[in-house]
């Protein structure tokens, strides 16, 4: 599966990349929202894993931009963030219903194993 990882921390991006590639996924990463949008256009991912807390433009802005294009309306997005979901109450409702975010994972509670299991739910080969 082609996965776009939007992750600002280089070290975490490296760990996630290794874990996802070890399961046979093809991964491209971006560290900012703008770079992420450019990569969506270029790479046409099957799934996006997104950190909300990004530099300059947030993950929410990324989502608004992404969903403003008809072709990208159905790309599934998993949020994997260092921001606790409780601090995201209001916006998360918007993210889920208006911006069609599939899942919200809280990084401290989400092991690599859990992340890989969540990702496999979107793999058309495994479905």
């Amino acid at each position: 599966m082609k996965i776009l990882l939007v992750e600002p921390d280089r070290l975490l991006a490296k760990v996630y990349r290794q874990a996802l590639e070890s399961k046979g996924h093809h991964l491209v990463s971006a560290s900012t929202a703008q770079e992420g949008i450019a990569k969506v256009d270029e790479f046409k991912p099957d799934l996006i894993i997104l950190e909300i807390q990004l530099v300059e433009h947030s993950g929410v802005e990324f989502m608004h931009e992404l969903r403003s294009y008809e072709d990208w309306l159905d790309i599934p997005v998993i949020i994997n963030s260092i921001v606790p979901p409780a601090e995201f109450n209001h916006s998360f409702k918007i993210l889920k219903h208006e911006l069609k975010v599939s899942d919200y994972l809280y990084k401290p509670d989400c092991s690599l194993k859990t992340l890989l299991a969540k990702v496999s739910n979107f793999d058309p080969v495994l479905k």
């Binding site: 921390d9 070290l11 975490l12 760990v15 996630y16 290794q18 874990a19 070890s22 260092i82 606790p84 409780a86 601090e87 990084k107 401290p108 092991s111 690599l112 194993k113």
Partner: protein
């Protein structure tokens, strides 16, 4: 408290908060790196590195939660919470850290308990902080059996939920002295823990934000720290 002092207190809270937020990232990196390394190496130390970093991360995270809830109590939403499920989730979260210390965690939920009024995330965070502190403390006080019980029972004051050990070193006196010495002494719970016992105070501060108290309690002749929760009256009306 004078305006100047209040300002300084607010500033130090703010600074603590940003330091704590900052600390989350390196702990997260260590935990995930250790987890990734386990697939490449068989050294059991990686498992310990992961659970230690995970525990440190949780402590920082729960400290932030306590601070935020106390600074902005209006953000706490109270809901109907199942104590048994919170205790079960607490056991799951602490399991790997407990193994690092050779401590076994037993869940003791005898009887049926209806829902209580609390904020689930905050209650769980408080119990996890408390549990981690007791896991760390237990081997150093050498109580014989390295066992903790996550237990709940009914009392005339409400539903009591807490963590218990077979050691008299958990006592009302220890807790009282600890609260007096917290943030003054390096080792406020001197009879119980070789560390600052921060997890106990983090738990206490989270509970206080919900108008609950961390107190001494006994369960089946074991000694523990627990809180008293009020049953949800709303659901009691449902037949």
């Amino acid at each position: 408290m004078g305006i100047q002092q209040q300002k300084a207190k607010q500033m130090s809270y703010g600074l603590f908060l940003s330091v704590a937020e900052e600390l989350k990232l390196p702990f997260l990196q260590i935990a995930r790196l250790a987890e990734a390394s386990q697939s490449l190496a068989t050294d059991p130390a990686y498992k310990d590195i992961e659970s230690t970093a995970q525990s440190a991360l949780r402590l920082v995270d729960n400290y932030i939660l306590g601070l935020r809830l106390n600074l902005m109590p209006q953000t706490i939403s109270l809901e109907n919470v199942s104590v048994s499920s919170v205790l079960y989730n607490t056991q799951q979260q602490l399991d790997s850290f407990a193994k690092t210390y050779d401590v076994s965690l037993d869940l003791v939920v005898a009887g049926k308990f209806g829902p209580v009024v609390a904020n689930e995330q905050a209650l769980q965070a408080a119990l996890v902080s408390l549990g981690a502190a007791l896991i760390e403390a237990l081997p150093s006080i050498n109580s014989g059996q390295l066992k903790l019980q996550l237990a709940t029972h009914r009392s005339r004051y409400g539903i009591v939920a807490g963590i218990y050990a077979d050691t008299r070193q958990i006592s009302q006196t220890t807790l009282k002295a600890g609260h007096k010495l917290a943030s003054i002494s390096r080792q406020p719970l001197v009879d119980l823990s070789h560390t600052s016992g921060a997890g106990v105070f983090v738990a206490s501060s989270i509970l206080e934000a919900m108008d609950l108290k961390l107190g001494f309690s006994r369960h089946n002749n074991w000694y523990g720290l627990a809180t008293i929760l009020q049953p949800s009256r709303q659901l009691q009306l449902v037949p």
